[in-house]
């Protein structure tokens, strides 16, 4: 049993490696993962006096949010349309491991982009707690990659998958405390924000950047992201079973 799980995990890693090789440099991936977050950030920040300790974690979070999700809006629908997904389905590997492999590819892309943005922003905003900030990036990237899979699971083509996923992400950016503090939002939106993984990601990164860590709150942020990831992956597997088979 344990041996079978290890084999499944190994094969999930091979799928992640393949996805990175095939999709990392695809045009839509670079546009939605690399350019959109910085465009959103600049359009909100330029001309306003924004505290870098508040703004930079927001930028890093949305880089992870868009980056980790962008590859999912391409890889999964494209593979289902072209038939390459059937190669995975007919291999001796569980559907969960296939989904996990795809989530890992998005995780790496999101994490790489976030780390790149962090390094670029260090001159503007010092980073007092580097390990916790990077821990926040890792948890966020995996959660957002899983979220991206969930959003693309019903679709079989990139033009179908990309617009709804992008719209959902942009809406979430404005209600999850990236640019506007949650306390400034109406109560209903605050409740909605706490049902979204981006809120916990932004909060964990902001804590790590501010240097004043509330351990309990930080752990809640990470724990919430783990629960979100499990939920997103489970629903993705269910949706793929329903729509593929």
């Amino acid at each position: 049993m344990v041996k079978a799980w290890i084999e499944d995990l190994k094969r999930a890693a091979y799928i992640a490696e393949k996805d990175m090789k095939v999709y990392f440099l695809k045009g839509p991936n670079l546009i939605f993962g690399l350019i959109l977050p910085i465009s959103l950030f600049l359009s909100f920040s330029i001309g306003r006096s924004v505290d870098p300790a508040f703004a930079v974690p927001g930028l890093v979070a949305i880089a992870s949010f868009f980056g980790a999700g962008a590859i999912q809006a391409i890889a999964l629908p494209l593979e289902r349309r072209t038939g390459t997904f059937n190669l995975l389905l007919s291999a001796p590997i569980s559907l969960f491991a296939i989904v996990l492999g795809k989530a890992l590819a998005g995780f790496f892309f999101g994490a790489i982009l976030s780390v790149a943005y962090t390094i670029i922003m260090i001159p503007f905003s010092p980073l007092p707690n580097i390990p916790l900030f990077f821990l926040g990036i890792l948890f966020s990237s995996f959660t957002f990659s899983s979220f991206g899979l969930l959003l693309s699971a019903p679709f079989r083509d990139i033009p179908q998958a990309m617009p709804p996923a992008t719209v959902v992400r942009i809406v979430l950016v404005f209600i999850c405390g990236v640019f506007v503090p949650l306390t400034a939002l109406p109560l209903l939106l605050q409740v909605l924000a706490y049902a979204m993984p981006l809120t916990y990601s932004v909060d964990s990164l902001r804590q790590a950047m501010s240097g004043s860590i509330n351990t309990q709150m930080f752990l809640i942020d990470l724990g919430a992201q783990v629960l979100f990831s499990v939920f997103f992956l489970a629903v993705t597997v269910w949706a793929l079973k329903k729509t593929t088979q």
Partner: protein, 324 residues
Amino acid sequence: MEIAIRVQDLTKRYPNVLAVDHINFEVHKGEFFGFLGPNGAGKTTTINILTGVAKATSGAASIMGYDLSREPVKAKEHIGVVPDTSNLYDEMTAWDNIVFCAKLHGVSKEKRENRSNELLELVGLHERRNDRVGTYSKGMKKRLMIAAALVHEPEILFLDEPTTGLDVQGAREVRGLIRELNRKGTTVFLTTHYLEEADLCCQRIAIIAKGKIITEDTPEKLKLSIQAEQVIEVSFDRTMDVADKLKRLSNVTNVVTLGDKFRLSVADSSETLASIFDFAKVHSLKVVSINTLKPTLEDAFVKLTGLRLEVMSIEKEQMKPNRG
């Protein structure tokens, strides 16, 4: 004989169509089994269920004794799949594709490279191994798909319309490769709508139409099963007045003249053959050629399915708007 594939009461229902309707069959280990039928008959749906790509609505299927619904991973360890359209990554090289397939099937690192080299040599693509698959022709992709499907040395090879869209030479090469694999012990499950291909390659055939298996037997027995009367074709050095005289022979029920040949419908071909030689001697005729004609698989298909032969030449592209 050991059973490689067992299908019991297998059914697949889509919202608007019953694609596979309670089918049953078994494929023995080492056998070359053909699944013959027109496009849209349920062949690809059946192969998709047997390879884990689709789930059956009801019924059961097992691969090497492993039930596909209960132990899908175990079952899939024993199979290699060559689908009707490319399942390889156009963005990757042939080498990367085949190595990725090896990894997915748990082939050890030491074996992976040797096996990939061997197979690329076998399918004649070793020289082009570092080219992206997107630059390959249809035939090259098909050969690479076969190599990728064999990388883990599967006991059963599923091939869905492997020669569709290939030129005559390409189709011949692919058929030769598959036959060679079967000769070496691989169980082959081949779906095709080419009757000649099924006749040339398969040891046993199941004919499927509208989701149901119409019949299942060896190609020769299928042909014999529709042989109500036997036919002898004969030509002599002269044709004048011969047809009328042939009609008077015992056992001959009808004579049709086709150019310089006479096609005789007879009750018993062995008895009539002797009578024809006597007939030639009596009338001072020289027999130029004489053949007993057997029904073809095409004849059997038409008779058994009640379908017109043209349905077999309708390609998948034409079927798409009507498919569920």
